[in-house]
Symmetry: D2
Subunit: 398 residues, 4 copies
């Protein structure tokens, strides 16, 4: 059956030429990101458990972790968590299959604790965290849906959106958090995983406001703190030059009051230890960013089952489509994908697959159009590839 | 101090002329909307309690309700909830003020139960719901921030977005849910508050897919069910003619299987009774819609304190600004507002207040620009009016 | 099959002649008693639900309610609960029977809330209490056990104990709480349901220490409070004369400090509102008392299923046996019953039914022995009568 | 001030001469014992934390752990926990002292997890357990009470009871559990910590019914299981000969059905993994036993603060007194101690310290009386020694 693919030319100021652009990324230790990470870790663990015990992924959605902040008393050279952070894993999972009972809650709990241990390296799981779990069973037996001999049908009437390529600012914001945590942190362990990078481009001026929960035990005193944030600033300024020729100003922890030594210190690297709650789906979209100048979906990508949940698959898929179109069709300036499902229809047959394309100046939209259609159609023909990539952990969801 | 207001002309296909447009609204009984509603009801109740006991609103944010679905056994003519829906109110609140202890948790609990009783009229609060509450104290004493003799300073570096006017599709989607619940429901009590209206405009064709959890006890049998959904369809089709001349097709509960009598029935009017979890900030934006063709903010508006939380105030404010610009500047076709705060700066002095305007064909952007600037500047001068409107319950947040 | 009934003469100073006797009763509003009451109310409601839906009582045990105290700010003439009391219903219940799903959690929740509303008349269930529920399924399907065509088999190797008659002090302590709450409270609503009556008999002197959480809203001021406790004292002194000719001294709220107005006030009538946690099985035994001069069982009677749970049935049964022996065999001074079950054996065939009897002076033990055996044997032959009395609510469990 | 010590002669059949005697011990892995152990571990950790941070023990009571059973699928050679056991630590603790905030919840959580890891060696804390914690603050600031320059005053009007010496049956029951777990288990790791030893002496015949949750992964098959329980039986029979010359019959897991291979297997060593809930204070008294032929107190000893909580101190103290009297006064056959406090009076001045003594045949009660009084008075003079022993972990509480 032919797919309903609609590629149209978008008449719009391309993002780089718009006057104001806003981009945000929450670091992996932000309470909302921790929630996303836990939700996705649990879903992946369930997928593996289901495959191992039942030969196929069974119905589940674990996209609702709630984090209730603790209390802490951070200090230079030490500090402690006073009241543990409470983390509640929430969702649905199939608990029985052909007479076999499945250890869904235990698997979820273990996966969550493992994820946290790997991600939040300064969190003491024995005393800083209460990990709770409420997994219900689903609304019905979707076993048939999950059979792999045909394309699954959509769980809902819902949509996903994606765009490409990243703007300069998007690249800077994304990589600032990534490089601070994967590169600079290796020699400056005081950098906390809870980070918020807010980028504002006003014409040709870029301002990066970084809020980073520094880890007290690695910092001797205020001087040391000032030196570190200064080094971070220089690091980010240098990093930005790889992505832009615009002026970039970097501001770190602007809420600090150095006179009163009231600075952004943490014990564990996340503000969830002290007053900041978190939940799934309220932070980064699946491309790793929050981009109010771009179309976005409200659907949480993390934690949903990767078999038939449109809120996950179509967000990931549209992002892959957009990136491939940009890669394979050089005349594309900006592309926006929107995929809309209809409940109970095969997921390779969306109600509409819409692409809006801004061609580069001087290029023909018609050529672009047909090439983009091919990319979209190919991806839809291979939609279950997204499922496999998710299970293998090859696609980020936040 | 002069404000940093940037009004630019946006070169873009106006929304009504884009080929594909998607708009969604989750009804007030959708698990995500219930979460939003509870969060906001709690915040309003705390505001009133603080004013009554302390003369001023104190620091709080209660924007993190988590709903864990129950289990139910719906039936024509009856049905019952088997396992109660678990609702966890989460957030921060000031519990002591000048030596007086405040009943924050009790106030929150009562407000939440009252809200639910009023909103979900078929839910039996004695047996269908477990209402739990975990309110911590905040990260620091923000009392100074909340003094009313000067403009509060921003709690965070964050942004809000808004647009106006509503497109035809936006109007249809929004009013479909509103009128079904406020008008048709008065004579057809079987309509559940949990509704999802998904609108797709493909050129001149509009498809409305409505998913509505019907309430079993008001429906005798399958025939009766079919008659009711048919009546709803006719009602919505007629309603749509008030907003558009385009073709409108309405689809209700397309997931139903009439042969097996497997239809979307509920006991209480919400799918939270059976398998659908919910949380704050994952549904409608503060204008009541999810609009992937429009800029959106990821910030949850519901439950945040209305004094200095940018994630609430700037989303509400930018929407008001956009609506007033459209009202006062007739040459404006579409306007998009983005307000970006800087932590610890007065909220009437955003880092940038950006407006992107598509003028109507044949009008002068320059005239529009200056008039829009006046509207924006006026609103910023009167920013605390938003606070007052929130406390009085005059602004919806979802 | 002949039953293993062992009646022996006990050579022991009868209770009334022992020098020191201690007796305690916790009022129905004591946090431990509330837990007991909730547990039993839930079990009764489940019994009724099972009978109504399945024709027979199914396996359940709900004997583990946990109460976590709230915070309150009591005052003369008013006061309020600041943080709700958290009550967690815990236990096991059969959730499915021959394909029918049963509303166990909803039934439990409703029963608990109803019980609380009736028992704690000054508690506002909308804001003073969070009622939570965690009912698992049992360790195995005990359906066969619950068939009514034969005597059920014991769920465990366990025992129950009972004695009769009540001593003077036991009568006084028991009736003090009962009459204060059922009689005096009707004209003095300030008496809280949370009461602890501690009786000490030292030879011929009886001291009753009563700790009673008075309800602030019914008391204007300290003078009024003093008058009320004085009236209570007089009331109890008069009451005691119905049971003893010994000297009785009554002390009420001896922890009060009248100079600092630091007295035992509550908002709701129970100290669970402020600092006193509670759980099942830690207060009164099933005869309503705690009696360290008498044999006791550690088994919680409340909340266990009345079909085959020895910890419930044998405690109730041995108390009934003891009372009937005293009633029917006038030569008995004191009798102590101990019933020991063996797991998986019919409950009318205890491993041993032991009676220790102190005959009245000058009477023949042999006559007493055979008459007591008959009472015991009769009760064992009609053991399921206990089950029926429990379900009908005719037997107290605390 | 002279103390109110009352030593009386008890005319009573000594325990060894009573016809029927019942004694029970719950093993350290029984759900009720785990609750006791967690509660006491938390209290000890808080004592140490308070001393380390504040120089003195501050007010706390953590005597209310609630265990909600999980689900498991035990097997010979393996098995797994399907749903984690939920453990809720409940109590009160001082969270602030002279401006210093104390990490009470974190300390509690860590202590609980450590205790569990050491006690339940086959429990995987990463996936088998959810450890939750709700510690409130107390009803008032008892700091003054806790000053060490004078004897603390009683927190309540309450009592403790103790007796000595152990009867033969008490010794057998107590040591059966102890030796199985500390000696035989070292070469038979399949013995689970969840054990219930029920002893019945009927005249000269002793029956020990042992219910022991065997650990599947150490047992190959049913034959192996049968061999092990047989070896346990022989071990206990031999052990009993050290304490009695009476006939002892040992029954292990009499609920097993060998034909259907339905035997008492566990994954973790405790039935809390599958259907058995638990809570503090419902199992062993502080002497390690449940003894319905002896006076008992209902007060939970575990988890209460060891400074002024009568429910803890007087139970431990009366047991120490009884044991010392037996040791130092050889003419004592049986001694029963009851200590009754009065709220707000120094704990070395009980309202009454009652001893009931059965002297050995042919000995003078008068001599015994005065010697016993000395022991009692000495202990009361040194009552705070109990506190120190508790903090140092030298006294068991269950």
């Amino acid at each position: 059956m032919a797919r309903n693919i609609k590629v149209e030319e978008l008449l719009q100021t391309p993002i780089e030429k718009q006057r104001i652009e806003l981009v945000e990324r929450k670091g992996i230790g932000h309470p909302d990101s921790i929630s996303d990470g836990l939700a996705e870790a649990v879903s992946r663990a369930l997928c593996r458990e289901y495959i191992s015990k039942c030969g196929t992924v069974l119905h589940h959605n674990t996209d609702e972790t709630q984090i209730v902040a603790g209390r802490s008393s951070p200090k230079f050279g030490g500090g402690e968590v006073l009241q543990p952070i409470y983390m509640l894993l929430v969702g649905r999972a199939t608990k029985e299959f052909e007479g076999v009972e499945l250890a869904t809650e235990s698997v979820a709990l273990q996966a969550a604790r493992n994820y946290l241990r790997k991600t939040m390296v300064n969190m003491d799981l024995e005393r800083d965290v209460i990990m709770d779990c409420k997994l219900g069973t689903g609304s019905s037996d979707l076993r048939d849906v999950f059979k792999r001999d045909r394309v699954p049908v959509a769980n809902d009437t819902s949509f996903g959106v994606g765009h490409a390529p990243f703007s300069e600012l998007e690249n800077i914001v994304y990589n600032t958090e990534r490089r601070l945590l994967t590169d600079l942190k290796s020699r400056m362990p005081a950098i906390g995983e809870d980070m918020k990078v807010m980028g504002l481009r006003d014409g040709e001026d870029i301002a990066l406001t970084i809020c980073s929960g520094m880890i007290g035990k690695y910092i001797d005193d205020l001087d040391s703190y000032i030196n570190m944030t200064q080094e971070m600033k220089i690091y980010v300024e240098e990093l930005a030059t790889h992505y832009t020729e615009r002026d970039v100003n970097v501001y770190i922890n602007t809420g600090d009051n150095l006179k009163t030594s009231c600075v952004f210190l943490t014990v564990t690297g996340t503000s969830a230890e002290m007053g900041d709650d978190g939940s799934v789906g309220r932070g980064n979209r699946c491309n790793g960013l929050i981009t109010p100048n771009r179309p976005m979906s409200m659907e949480a990508t993390s934690g949903k089952n990767p078999i038939n949940h449109i809120g996950k698959i179509y967000n990931l898929l549209s992002t892959q489509m957009a990136r491939d179109i940009v890669k394979q069709v050089p005349e594309v300036q900006d592309v926006y994908i929107r995929l809309l499902s209809q409940i109970a229809k095969p997921i390779d047959q969306p109600l509409v697959a819409s692409a809006q394309i801004i061609p580069k100046e001087g290029t023909s939209f018609e050529k672009v159009k047909s090439e983009a259609e091919v990319v979209i159609d190919d991806w839809l023909s291979n939609v279950t590839k997204i499922t496999e990539m998710v299970i293998r952990g090859e696609l980020n969801t936040f």
